[in-house]
Amino acid sequence: MAREIKHFLNPDKWVELHSDYLFNYTISRISDRDLSKDLVQDTFFAGLNAMGNFKGKASERTWLIAILKRKIIDYYRKINSVKGKTEVKMNFYPDGEREGEWIEQRVPSDWNNEIDKNIENRELSVAIEKCINKLPDKYAIVFRMKTIQELETEQICKELDITSSNLWVIIHRARTQLRKCMEDNWFKN
C-alpha cells in the first residue's frame, strides 16, 4: 500500500502559489472582479483561522478551494434571499385564463435581419455582456456557469446548493429575459 503524503500549509506562499487559481475560479462564476477578489481574500483569512483543522490529507490548494466553495455558496444564498429589486420581468401570464401564454409585449418579433448580422464581432459581445448584467445576480451566475463556463448541471447544483429543477427554472427565466434584451438592443431592425 502506498504511503500517504502529508501536506503542509504555508500562508507566506499562498498568494504567490494559489491566488491566480482561486481568483480565476471565482471570477468565472461570479464575474464581478472586485467581489471575486474579496472572496479570495476572505478565503485566505478563513484559511488562517482554520489552520488548526488542517489534517494534511489534502493538498493546500484543494483545502483552500474547499473553503472558497463554501464562500461562494454563502454569497449565493445571500443574494438569493434578497427579494424584489431587480426581479426578472415576466414573459408569460402568471395566472388567470391565459396562464402560461405569452404576454403580448414579450412575444418574439421577427428578426428578419439576423442573417446579415456578424455574430463574431466585438460589439455583439458587448451587447450580450450588457444584457447578462441586467439580469438579477442570482440568475446571471447560474446562466454564466451553465452557458459560458459550460459546467455540468450536477456540478452547478452542488456548488450553489440548488436543485436541478431550480436550475432549469432560473435558466428559463434568464434566457427569456435575455432574448427580449437582445431583441431590443441588437436584432431589432
Partner: protein
C-alpha cells in the same frame, strides 16, 4: 398533456444544453405544430446559443488574473493577520 407556452419554452431552453428527455421532445414538437410564437422563440434560441458560445472567449479574456499590486496587497493583509 397539452403544454402552455411558458412550459414549452422552458423545455426549449433546456434543449439548448441537450438535456431534454424524448417525451419532452415529443410534447414540444406537438406544441410547435400550432404555436408560431414558440416556433419563433425556438429558432431565435439557437441563434442566441451560437452568440453565447462566441461570447465565451471574450469573457475568458476579460477575466484573467490579479495584478501584481493586487497580489501584494493581499499578501500584506495575510501577513498582518498572521502576526498574532
Amino acid at each position: 398533456m397539452k403544454l402552455c407556452c411558458d412550459n414549452a419554452t422552458a423545455i426549449c431552453d433546456k434543449g439548448q444544453y441537450g438535456e431534454i428527455k424524448i417525451w419532452e421532445k415529443i410534447k414540444l414538437g406537438l406544441h410547435f405544430l400550432w404555436c408560431k410564437k414558440c416556433r419563433r422563440y425556438s429558432k431565435q434560441n439557437s441563434i442566441l446559443s451560437k452568440c453565447y458560445r462566441n461570447h465565451q472567449e471574450f469573457e475568458k479574456k476579460k477575466q484573467c488574473c490579479l495584478t501584481d499590486l493586487e497580489k501584494e496587497c493581499m499578501d500584506e493583509r495575510i501577513k498582518e493577520n498572521t502576526i498574532f
